[in-house]
Amino acid sequence: MKPEPYEQGLLKGLAEGDKRTIEIIYKDHYNMIQSLIINNNGSADDAKDIFQEALIVLYEKVRSGSFELNCQLKTYLYSVSKRLWLKKLSVNNRFVTAAEDPDSIYPVEDEITAHEKRDAEFDMMEKAIASLGEPCKSLLEAYYLKKQNMQVIATSFGYTNADNAKNQKYKCLLRLKKIFFAHYKNGMDHE
């Protein structure tokens, strides 16, 4: 089944990171996922985490240019959330026999595997950046994540000119790269 034009519009908005659209998707589906989690041994906080993770999976999917879900948005989010939650439960060694309803479940295994790999990579990046310490951490975040202008960064960090700030930024970047790739290669070895 092809998604309706309305849902495809939502997916496009999501890919652009449009706040209004995300709000609509959030509002229309959150309660459904919350009941799912709460009826399966979870708390409202678990529901929030799982639902947001499912939205991230969807976000990554539409970011890669694919607006074709081949099922309804509702079914997709439900399937992803359910998979994620069952995984989490099994990690915590809690046994649950959730009744599978094959009609409402869409196969999402591949997406979740890809998501887990990405999540591990982001986690690696986050740790690498955190381990830099200040001011490197803030400097790199300002330039590469918040995309601030070098001139602005120089003034706000108190460098006398943009060149000095730039020089410092490259030193920090070099350190970050070394830390990141050391972890990255380790991570690959484990697999």
Partner: protein, 366 residues
């Protein structure tokens, strides 16, 4: 070429910041030098990774924001609750009780203030106005009914029929859930709760020092989540005259930022426990942290002089250390670890404020 220069060149190449000549030259180098070629590939991958990480972080942040927003508006059922029926039931049940309680509270408040006004002798201390916030009668009634419903929705641990009357500000000093505020904010309290964007929690007073006007609170609420490390530190030093400072507090139902400077090293009437700061403080700012530009808490705001606008007094930060020491001596199980090193010293002000505001709470007293 050094490693650093090489990195800069490669990055300019990837970002397309080279002029055409330079570009041709560099591409030639790439072809002949495998190491350079490898570096370009590796760095392209790295920048992509960094970029995607940034977008991912931004998206997560947005989701968090939307969740809080929708939960606040009631568009989603953010917390477990057993159906609408329960809310309506509780609302009806407590409506009558709470309006009687409100009426009694109003009468009591008015008659006590009338008594105080007529009987109190004129002393220099009457100039010193404690920054307790008293909700006005009307505000009080309407807010109470709204908050009752909110409380049923939000938390089972705070009873629904609890009217909170006065308020101040408090901030976290130990991530386990210890806060500090002014003694005068909580001295006559039966029940105390704290509230900010993250939620509303019950707390108890574990130690109070009326001379220094300080109190330590501990969160007793089950819903409270421990923090990671504190962004700011508590400074033992008094600070220098003219040091720029800022504060975050709850004079309103929303966190409010103000800034100023340290204007005298002693407080009201030469009081050596405190210091004087030039800042616009309002009712409800009592207990706000006074933070210097390195992100160190140098004091706790505790009052202002009624006949002078624009300056206030603050209890010095070193007394928090003394207070936590005496608490440890009194009860070794309650050991508080104070953070001695600020993690936000080199950040710009708005970034510092962003990190700090989750640690500052409105203190509501019953």
């Amino acid at each position: 070429m050094s490693e650093l220069n090489m990195l800069e060149t490669v990055e300019r190449y990837i970002r397309g910041e080279m002029n055409p000549d330079e570009r041709v030259q560099f591409e030639q180098l790439r072809k002949t030098n495998a190491e350079v070629d490898q570096l370009v590939v590796e760095h392209t991958f790295f920048l992509q990774q960094l970029n995607r990480f940034g977008e991912w972080k931004k998206f997560r942040h947005l989701l968090q924001f939307i969740h809080t927003d929708l939960a606040e508006k009631g568009s989603i059922q953010s917390n477990r609750l057993s159906g609408k029926a329960r809310v309506i039931y509780l609302f009806n049940r407590y409506k009558r009780v709470s309006s009687i309680a409100a009426a009694i509270a109003v009468v009591t408040t008015l008659s006590i203030s009338a008594l105080v006004w007529t009987l109190a002798p004129a002393s220099p201390h009457s100039q010193f106005e404690e920054l307790n916030k008293k909700y006005s009668q009307l505000e009080y009634k309407t807010r109470k009914q709204a908050s009752e419903i909110d409380q049923i929705k939000r938390s089972k641990t705070i009873p629904v029929d609890m009217p909170f009357t006065t308020g101040g500000t408090g901030f976290i000093i130990d991530p386990k859930g210890y806060l500090v505020t002014n003694a005068h904010v909580v001295s006559e309290a039966r029940t105390i709760a704290i509230q900010n964007n993250l939620g509303e929690y019950l707390v108890e007073v574990v130690h109070i020092d009326k001379v220094r006007d300080l109190a330590i609170l501990r969160v007793t609420d089950d819903n409270f989540k421990r923090y990671g490390a504190l962004p700011y530190s508590i400074s033992k030093k008094a600070g220098q005259l003219a040091d720029p400072i800022f504060t975050l507090g709850y004079p309103r139902n929303e966190v409010v930022y103000s800034q100023g400077y340290l204007s005298a090293r002693t407080g009201y009437d030469g009081d050596t426990l405190s210091c004087q700061i030039e800042i616009s403080a309002n009712r409800g700012n009592s207990g706000s942290p006074i933070i210097n530009r390195r992100g160190e808490v140098i004091g706790i705001l505790n009052g202002r002089q009624t006949n002078a606008e624009g300056f206030a007094f603050a209890v010095q930060g070193k007394y928090i250390y003394q207070l936590s020491d005496s608490l440890r001596n009194a009860d070794p199980s309650l050991s508080i670890r104070l953070n001695g090193r600020s993690n936000i010293s080199s950040l710009e002000r708005s970034e510092q404020v962003k990190r700090i505001q989750d640690y500052v709470y409105m203190v509501k007293v019953n």
